[in-house]
């Protein structure tokens, strides 16, 4: 296996995804096959190849510093599982 159960659990914690006990084995297997596919790259000689950030041969377009967006406050707040008239409400996070 290219990826183990513990790693899957760790990734799930970082990604805030709930992976149930019954799913773990299947997820470990399918993630493992993704890693296997990607690993083929390490077999290829890439010495003369420039790292590529994007498959398209274009560069970033720039935007003028102007405000054109208007407030979406009511629509966005309405989409949240919990909100009052001003804030999104989430379980307490305090340092």
């Amino acid at each position: 296996m290219l990826i183990n159960r513990k790693e899957v659990e760790q990734i799930a914690v970082l990604a805030k995804l709930a992976v149930s006990e019954s799913e773990i084995e299947a997820v470990t297997h399918s993630l493992g096959s993704v890693v296997e596919m990607i690993n083929h790259i390490s077999e290829v000689n890439t010495d003369a190849i420039k790292p590529m950030a994007n498959p398209m041969d274009v560069v970033q377009r720039l935007r003028a510093d102007k405000v054109t967006e208007t407030s979406n406050k009511p629509q966005l707040l309405a989409m949240a599982p919990n909100a009052d008239e001003d804030y999104y409400l989430v379980p307490t996070v305090v340092e």
């Binding site: 970082l14 990604a15 805030k16 950030a53 994007n54 398209m56 274009v58 560069v59 970033q60 377009r61 720039l62 935007r63 003028a64 510093d65 102007k66 405000v67 054109t68 967006e69 407030s71 979406n72 406050k73 966005l76 707040l77 989409m79 919990n82 009052d84 001003d86 804030y87 999104y88 409400l89 989430v90 379980p91 307490t92 996070v93 305090v94 340092e95």
Partner: protein, 480 residues
């Protein structure tokens, strides 16, 4: 005094909020203090299908910073990476930043160390990234409230090399960066509103040891004073640990100004796996040398250069030159006023600006830079005194009236009858009356009691409400 056993090594990461109208990747308003969540586009709310579009102003501001600190690298090709972490004030689950190809690398600046010598502090890099929203913990009992207005506001994070050896140097460096970004006009520098924030990496090592000790990162330091306090506290804590035979643990610590302590932020440690990767939504930012050169015209005269000019051209004292040059608005006001002067000197201007105008501003809970007095008014006032129309004392009175007034100095002098009395006839008449009513004192004066000389000068001043020309009064009295 016992020889110091440990030396301190400090590096700073300064988050500078850029003064743009719109956000880094969306055309959303960035104005501070708006009602919660009223400045949030679908992008900042992480609604699927939104794409970031890079704000050119941010690129140009970052280049200007690079030019200002003499950066060896201003990247012709820079890129964006995703830093993945989960926190409610960042809905998309990652921050867009520049890990591998930052826009600015290898700059430097100089500060003054404890012995007054200049010391070079190297800047490792300055990269572009987005700010997060804010969590409100005090308003609700069982929840945290999230305000996404700040989410996506452009920042440059300025990372120093670990070149500072004590808290004072760290403060001097932070102040120098603050001065640079505010003089450039790329950041408003407002520490209270969080536009300029600092994290400090602090470690200690036995004197003479080459390798760096284990560092801790201090977060949440929002004033120059707190940087000094937090670092000194942390150094003490680390020494105490090491002396007790313990190791310093690499961790993030929160500075608590109220409790006067630093404490571990354990939550930060758990998630310390950011899984950086190139942001597939953004393309490489490619610019040419001409583009970089074009920004050079926006680099202003910096304080160090300005101080030299003030010393050489205007003969200001070093303290005055420094005080004016380090405050951008004050120096603009000074330069503007000096241009209008004819007889009055720049030296007097500096003097009055730092003494009279500053204390007046203070009494109004304002700063000179609020521009409640115009350079025209101020220069007129200095000229009026230089040409003998008014005394310094009256100048102060007029200054107070100029505050918040559209009147010219001339208008106030006329309206209030404040012009200096130099007319010897008028002054002689006043003195004659004084002699009559104070015959004993006059006798004593004639007998050579110089105290009485001052008594008569004082009385004339009192009668003319300070408007008498003292030189003229002296002449008349001496002739008697």
């Amino acid at each position: 005094m016992s020889k110091q056993k440990y030396e301190t090594v400090i590096g700073l990461e300064i988050h500078t909020q850029l003064k743009t109208k719109s956000k880094l990747f969306a055309a959303t308003d960035t104005t501070y203090g708006a009602s919660p969540n009223s400045q949030v586009s679908f992008l900042e709310a992480a609604i699927p299908g939104q794409l970031p579009v890079f704000n050119e102003k941010v690129l140009r501001y970052a280049i200007r910073f690079g030019l200002a600190v003499g950066a060896k690298v201003i990247a012709k090709e820079s890129r964006f990476d995703r830093k993945n972490y989960f926190y409610p004030d960042s809905p998309k689950g990652y921050q867009i930043t520049q890990l591998h190809h930052p826009i600015v690398e290898h700059g430097s600046l100089t500060i003054e160390d404890a012995n007054g010598n200049s010391k070079l502090i190297r800047i490792n890099r300055a990269h572009i990234e987005e700010d997060a929203g804010k969590s409100i913990h005090t308003k609700y009992a069982d929840y945290s409230g999230i305000d996404l207005n700040r989410c996506g506001t452009p920042l440059i994070e300025i990372v120093s090399e670990p070149d500072m050896s004590n808290a004072k140097e760290a403060v001097a460096y932070m102040k120098e960066i603050h001065s640079i970004v505010t003089h450039l006009g790329i950041c408003d520098g407002n520490l209270q509103e969080g536009s300029f924030r600092c994290d400090a990496n602090v470690s200690i090592r036995p004197v003479g040891q080459k390798e760096l000790g284990t560092r801790t990162e201090l977060k949440n330091i929002n004033s120059f004073r707190f940087v000094e306090k937090a670092i000194n506290l942390e150094v003490k804590r680390q020494i105490k640990r090491v002396e007790a035979g313990n190791k310093v643990v690499q961790e993030t610590r929160l500075y608590d100004a109220e409790k006067h302590e630093t404490r571990s932020m354990r939550s930060k440690e758990e998630a310390n796996d950011y899984r950086y990767f190139p942001d597939p939504d953004l393309l490489p930012v490619v610019i040419d040398q001409a583009y970089i050169d074009n920004e050079k015209k926006y680099i202003p005269e910096f304080p160090a250069k300005k101080i030299l000019r003030y010393l050489n051209e205007f003969d200001l004292t070093e303290d005055d030159a420094k005080a004016i040059a380090h405050d951008k608005n004050l120096s603009l006001f000074f330069d503007e006023t000096v241009k209008l002067l004819k007889k009055a000197t720049a030296k007097t201007c500096a003097n009055r600006l730092l003494a009279d105008v500053s204390s007046l501003a203070k009494s109004h809970n304002a700063t000179v830079s609020d521009k409640i007095i115009s350079a025209e008014q101020f220069s007129e006032l200095l000229e009026a005194q230089a040409t003998g129309i008014i005394s310094h004392k009256i100048a102060k009175v007029i200054l107070e009236q100029l505050w918040d007034s559209q009147l010219s100095v001339k208008e106030i002098i006329e309206k209030e009858g404040l012009a200096q009395v130099s007319d010897s006839g008028e002054l002689e008449a006043i003195i004659e009356v004084l002699i009559k009513t104070n015959q004993n004192q006059f006798q004593e004066y004639k007998e050579g009691n110089m105290k009485m000389f001052n008594f008569f000068v004082g009385q004339v001043m009192k009668q003319t409400k300070g408007r008498a020309n003292p030189a003229e009064v002296k002449l008349i009295l001496e002739k008697l």
